[in-house]
């Protein structure tokens, strides 16, 4: 099964990506930047530029009807909790930008790590610990355009140990870990109690030590000490 993000991006260009415009097969480029927050929610920005004929097709289907795009997105991508869509288009240079906000983009795995499902069509091209770039090229039919997509996924600053699980397979996932929050950290509680306990213990030891010192006779004066 295709993954939600892939499908979501694909739907925005449905009519363009699946129809032949009567000319030679061309390439449609789509760039997406996905920023994941510490809670696994995400904001996505999708940018694309189209040729004149494809722009006309897209405009008729979604460009002039962002409400229909929003309806289709919500209906067809059940697994995502979409909250907001903002579609801006520039008819002069035939470029459109869609801003989408979604909840629960990541899933929490049994081991507590977070995972983002990635369609196997996406190939990792570069990465830093917090920024992962994927690319894919697909073609719905021999007459349809080649859809070249670039995904840049930006993980939250606290993310650790990010990696790709099952690369190149249908189960491909971008996995990372988040530090447990203070709210979730029982270590904090026990460390505090332990520190306070140790502090009290040291205080008591100090007191005992001081008390023991007070019971001892004072040292002999030097003259007496020499005689002794």
């Amino acid at each position: 099964m295709k993954k939600p993000i892939f499908c979501l991006m694909l739907l925005i260009l449905t009519s363009v990506a699946t129809t032949h415009n009567g000319f030679a097969t061309d390439t449609v480029n789509q760039d997406a930047v996905i920023r994941v927050d510490p809670f696994g929610d995400a904001s996505m920005k999708v940018i694309f530029h189209l040729s004149a004929s494809r722009w006309e097709t897209w405009r008729q289907q979604y460009g002039d009807h962002p409400d229909v795009l929003w309806r289709d997105l919500k209906q067809k991508f059940a697994k995502a909790a979409l909250d907001k869509l903002d579609l801006q288009r520039n008819d002069i240079d035939r470029t459109a930008t869609a801003d989408i906000e979604a909840r629960a983009l990541t899933t929490v795995r049994d081991d507590g790590s977070r995972a983002i499902d990635m369609s196997k069509e996406f190939r990792l091209v570069s990465n830093t610990p917090l920024e992962w770039v994927f690319e894919s090229a697909s073609q719905a039919s021999p007459d349809a355009p080649i859809l070249a997509q670039t995904f840049r996924i930006i993980l939250p600053p606290q993310a650790m140990n990010a990696r790709i699980d099952s690369p190149g397979t249908a189960a491909q996932q971008l996995v990372y870990q988040m530090p447990e929050s203070a709210a979730n950290n029982s270590l904090l509680l026990w460390a505090g109690i332990l520190a306070m306990g140790l502090g009290i213990l040291l205080g008591i030891l100090g007191l005992v030590s001081a008390f023991a010192s007070s019971k001892r006779p004072p040292p002999l004066p030097p003259t007496l000490a020499r005689q002794a």
Binding site: P38, Q75, A182, A183, G192
Partner: protein
């Protein structure tokens, strides 16, 4: 005390103890304060108003159970849960129940939900097979039970509930979009792909029907084929079999229905087994039947829907062959005589070409995507075999009878020539008129030469048909073997019409010597007609000529029809 104080600050070891103790205590207090300030708020589960599907189609129950179909689009409920508290929520489970159909079930345990995170829970119900026993729409309830445990707290529970409609097994809901959201023609058909579930190639009834078709062909094409010629041959055999065994098109329309805030088109569509049993179907039913039969025979098929109509395309390699499934009933496509298979293909190809709005449902692809057929109740296969055999016998009898009457009425060549010369008095030739002469010289008449001669419906006893394309007036030659009188002949013709779904009624008749003049009308799925007829017993049966027109303009054409009937000559 003063001494002790003095000792504490004079003794370095004691001082070190105190200093470390104070620092550790302060750190511990700080950690506890941090924990208390940020983590004191317990986990709290909140959720958006769940999305409940308003209705489901019972014949597609396997689709709703499959989260893989169209990215999980056909969920019965969707709830987005969020931990808005400060501590994790543990042991989160979401259970579902549809009373009378599905007991409490927990598809998966969500487990832990960290603070601030959300999770989407979708439900894909696994309805039992008996849901297909529902003949009419009924209301059911979905209950969602949320259970969770706050860290260190007790288990909590909440039940959410909503009603939904389950459509009867023959009810197709073509769209579930709210009326306000309908923008284009396609929006009204956003669920039309469910018709693919009705394609049931493995139904024993369909298998028997397909077997009967291939049996006629000598069984040579039973099995998968991608050869275009063989596919076309198979299609032709299917078409001819349907036509000859009396399958007919029965027109009906879907009825708009409102459900909740959604306006939708719901149509009663029967499964192929029911179409085969009753031997008639709507365009969509015939298209589904075609797809089922050809699928059973190993062909790739596609159902096409366009405004007001549906038909089937059969594919072979990169070639595709559309067929107008309803052409088996000539009136359905505006014809007055049998439409040959080649013409039915042409009609569909033209339709495909000229229609702006159309949707294609490649059956095998959709089935691969999860649009699975329902499990169907068992049937008595022997009974189905018997029914099909009976129909085939009737069709064979009809053909045999027609052939017989033609042969029996064929006099020796010499006699024919003499008889024709001596007895037949052709009407005087008139300008603009064409002349019909029976091959055995049993009857002749004249008709306007602008009229069109088409293939006659021989299974109805009609051996010649000519009609006016503009007014639909027409003349038929009827030959009924083994009949002794006009009334017997009309009864036999009436039975043949009845098998084709039409009815003949004789309103008046008058005998004049050997001739019987009849006024009658025909009603059926293809429309109503009134006609005059003149019949005469001949050797081996009865022959007659009828001249008629659609009821709506019969009175206007009455005189013209009588004039035409006046040109009829018997030897």
């Amino acid at each position: 005390m003063v001494e002790l104080y003095f000792i504490m600050f004079r003794n370095r070891r004691v001082l070190a103890f105190f200093a470390c103790g104070v620092v550790l205590f302060a750190c511990g207090a700080g950690l506890l304060a941090t924990w208390a300030l940020t983590g004191a708020k317990p986990g709290q589960l909140s959720w958006d108003q769940p999305t409940f599907r308003k209705s489901i189609m019972s014949f597609g129950y396997k689709v709703y159970a499959n989260p893989q179909v169209q990215e999980g689009r056909y969920f019965l409920s969707k709830v987005v849960l969020k931990n808005t508290g400060g501590r994790p929520i543990r042991d989160l489970t979401v259970s579902y129940q549809v009373p009378d159909y599905i007991p409490w079930t927990t598809p998966e345990v969500a487990g832990e939900l960290p603070p601030g995170t959300s999770v989407v829970k979708l439900y894909y119900p696994k309805f039992p097979e008996r849901i297909t026993h529902l003949a009419n729409q009924t209301t059911a309830s979905l209950e969602i039970k949320l259970q969770w445990r706050e860290e260190g707290g007790s288990t909590k529970e909440q039940v959410l509930r909503d009603d939904f409609t389950i459509y009867g097994v023959n009810e197709v809901q073509y769209s579930d979009l709210p009326a306000d959201d309908i923008l284009t023609w396609y929006d009204q058909w956003n669920l039309a792909q469910f018709v693919v579930c009705m394609v049931t190639p493995n139904d024993p009834v369909v298998k028997e029907y397909a077997a009967a078709i291939t049996k006629r062909m000598g069984g040579t094409l039973a099995g998968a084929t991608q050869d275009p010629d063989q596919v076309v041959e198979l299609m032709k055999a299917t078409y001819d079999y349907m036509r000859e065994t009396g399958m007919r098109y029965a027109s009906a329309e879907g009825v708009p229905v409102s459900i909740g805030d959604a306006r939708t088109l719901v149509q009663t569509v029967r499964l192929p087994r029911d179409v085969i049993t009753t031997n008639n179907g709507l365009c969509i039913e015939l298209a589904i039947l075609w797809a089922s039969i050809l699928d059973q025979l190993g062909c790739q098929t596609c159902i096409v829907m366009r405004p007001g109509h549906a038909f089937t395309i059969v594919m072979a390699g990169d070639k595709y062959y559309p067929v107008e499934c309803t052409a088996i009933t000539p009136k359905a496509v505006g014809a007055t005589a049998d439409v040959p298979f080649e013409k039915a293909m042409e009609m569909a190809a033209e339709d495909l070409q000229k229609q702006q709005y159309k949707i294609f449902f490649p059956v095998q692809k959709f089935r691969g995507d999860g649009y699975a057929s329902p499990e169907l109740p068992d049937v008595d296969v022997d009974k189905i075999k018997g029914m099909l055999a009976s129909r085939e016998r009737e069709a064979a009898d009809e053909a045999k009878n027609v052939a017989q009457v033609q042969n029996q009425n064929q006099p020796p060549a010499q006699e024919t020539q003499e008889g024709t010369a001596a007895q037949n008095q052709p009407p005087p030739a008139q300008e603009g008129m064409a002349h019909y002469e029976h091959s055995a010289g049993l009857v002749s008449f004249s008709y306007p030469d602008s009229w069109k001669v088409t293939s006659p419906a021989t299974q109805l006893g009609i051996t010649f048909h000519v009609y006016d394309p503009s007014t639909l007036m027409g003349m038929d030659v009827l030959e009924v073997p083994n009949a002794n009188s006009a009334s017997e002949a009309l009864k036999a013709v009436g039975r043949a019409f009845a098998r084709a779904g039409s009815r003949i009624q004789v309103d008046d008749s008058k005998r004049q010597g050997e001739l019987t003049v009849v006024l009658g009308h025909t009603t059926g799925t293809a429309g109503n007609n009134e006609w005059f007829g003149v019949f005469r017993p001949v050797r081996g049966g009865v022959i007659g000529v009828a001249a008629g027109s659609p009821t709506a303009n019969f009175q206007a054409n009455r005189q013209a029809l009588l004039k035409l009937l006046d040109t009829v000559r018997f030897p």
